[in-house]
């Protein structure tokens, strides 16, 4: 499930990234490729998103042999089509110009701002909590860390493109080697208070870290969550320094946090106090016009 999540999330990101730079074919194609994965989720869990699968001690549904076949079929197709996407994107000169050397987060800044996930790996930071702090079955399924040194939007894109294929490989390996057995462990009594635990999980956008200090009444005394975008967003001011205004939407989008910063834009001329409001469409047009230059 964790890898299928990546297989749907990276194409989702790439589609929106394509949309933001005015290349909607990317959006159409990647979302078409992604859709069968969403159907899979529905068959496995009952939901397209927010699966409701996890409980303390295990998961709520098992993968049947029929589903197994189905999953393999879907990831086969995704892989075939994804290779075509990689080829198409790599050979698209205008797109390369929009991504290469733009939105640079230097390796030093990436370390100083402690960024996570593809944002970090695109700046040459060799971290991936699946490998560094193995959880679930990652002691047995070892993903290859996908790292690029470009520090720009292109590097972040390449990391995600390659990770999608790596996830396909992991799903296959997982289905081949998964043992049969109970899907839920018995928890004999209430969880005692005063115990601490911390765990990191590599979500598509980077590692999500949870800390729990247990308390009375079967609930935590303190539960602290650190999502990957928390660290990534905080480094946006450093990353967009030096980029052109028209590249700001894709630069921010390249972190995969919040694309619709393009919704409304207000330009205030600091000297005259003159205000001009750009709509989302105008800003997107500005971004797209740059592509046509």
């Amino acid at each position: 499930m964790l890898e299928l999540e990546r297989i749907h999330s990276h194409p989702l990101w790439l589609g929106i990234g394509g949309h933001v730079v005015g290349f909607d074919t990317v959006l159409m194609q990647t979302w078409r490729i992604r859709e069968p994965v969403m159907w899979l989720f529905e068959q496995i869990t009952g939901n397209r998103k927010t699966f409701g699968m996890n409980l303390i001690g295990g998961v709520r549904r098992d993968i049947t042999p029929e589903l197994k076949t189905k999953i393999l079929e879907v990831v086969d197709t995704v892989e075939k089509e994804w290779l075509k996407v990689i080829d198409a994107i790599g050979s698209d000169t205008p797109l390369m110009l929009r991504l290469k050397g733009v939105g640079v987060l230097t390796h030093e800044d990436a370390v100083d701002y402690c960024v996570a996930g593809p944002t970090a790996r695109g700046s040459g930071v060799r971290i991936d909590s699946r490998v560094d702090h193995p959880y679930a079955a990652y002691e047995y399924l070892v993903p290859e860390k996908k790292v690029h040194e470009g520090c720009d939007i292109l590097a972040r894109t390449l990391v995600r493109l390659e990770e999608t294929l790596e996830s396909v490989r992991l799903v296959r390996q997982c289905l081949k080697e998964i043992p049969y057995g109970p899907i839920m462990a018995e928890i004999p009594s209430e969880i005692p208070p005063g115990r601490e635990g911390v765990k990191a999980v590599e979500a598509p956008r980077g590692e999500s870290i949870h800390y729990v200090l247990t308390g009375e009444n079967n609930r935590p005394y303190r539960w602290r969550v650190r999502a990957p975008s928390y660290m990534n967003l905080a480094s946006v001011p450093v990353m967009i320094r030096g980029v052109e205004l028209a590249d700001v939407p894709i630069a921010i989008a390249s972190y995969d946090p919040c694309f619709s910063c393009t919704e409304r834009l207000e330009v205030v001329n600091a000297k005259s106090g003159e205000v001009r409001i750009y709509t989302r469409k105008e800003l997107n047009d500005l971004s797209r016009k740059k592509r046509d230059r």
């Binding site: 967003l233 052109e244 619709s260 919704e263 409304r264 834009l265 600091a270």
Partner: protein, 234 residues
């Protein structure tokens, strides 16, 4: 730098900081809890981050007044090569919880410190940008919702006449605010982008408009198995 075992790391740390390390424990393999003197946070954090190449992850503030008569901060680091998590835990005064800021050493700690300042009222001395991060601008001063004596369903009266204090733009720069509202995606955010011509020369950020206080809900009203459903909706 790589350590063969976690005890090697612990011994080296104890040698270097001696009296500032109060105790260490490793209840689960490769999760090392280090109790430290709060005055030593800067030097230990600097050693981990600059000396050992550890990664800073976050700060966890806990109001332990009901159980331990103090506030506790946990600075979470990871030594990724060694597959180790290091939790630096410090006890702060129950009436004046304060400690030194580490943001000048680790820029990535700024948000974590500001968040603990907002939600728990822990003061970080020397924090260059101590503006509000998680709490809304019209939230009353000195009211910290993640403290245990703050009821989860209490709604304070909004303070009138306050607003976000944006950072001054550099001279000659034009301010281009992007946001804060856009209905299509996850959360609203305000990027005040400073431009000279078309080139961005700086940026100021205000976010957290969607802060929902899930940590508070979880420690006040939910049970473990309900939390896993909430966690999925973050």
């Amino acid at each position: 730098m790589a350590f063969g075992t976690s005890s090697q790391f612990v011994n080296e740390l104890k040698d270097r900081f001696q009296g500032n390390i109060l105790s260490t424990r490793e209840p689960v393999s490769r999760k090392i809890y280090v109790e430290i003197h709060r005055e030593a946070i800067r030097s230990i954090a600097e050693h981990l981050f600059r000396g050992l190449g550890a990664r800073f992850n976050t700060i966890i503030g806990v109001d332990r007044r009901p159980t331990h008569q103090d506030f506790q901060t946990t600075h979470l680091f990871s030594l990724d090569e060694d597959k180790i998590f290091v939790l630096l835990q410090a006890s702060l005064d129950r009436n004046r919880p304060e400690m030194d800021s580490i943001t000048s050493i680790i820029p990535g700690a700024n948000w974590a410190e500001r968040e603990a300042q907002d939600l728990l009222g822990i003061q970080f001395n020397g924090l260059a940008d101590p503006r509000r991060l998680a709490l809304p601008d019209d939230w009353p001063e000195n009211l910290h919702p993640l403290r245990r004596d703050f009821p989860y369903n209490f709604r304070p009266e909004p303070v009138k006449g306050v607003a976000f204090k944006p950072r001054e733009a550099p001279e000659n720069a034009t301010v281009v605010p992007i946001g804060p509202f856009y209905p299509v995606l996850e959360e609203p955010a305000l990027f005040r982008v400073f431009v000279e011509g078309e080139t961005v020369v700086g940026c100021d950020y205000r976010g957290f408009y969607n802060h929902r206080g899930i940590e508070k809900i979880a420690d006040s009203t939910l049970t473990y198995n309900q939390i896993s459903f909430l966690a999925e909706r973050i």
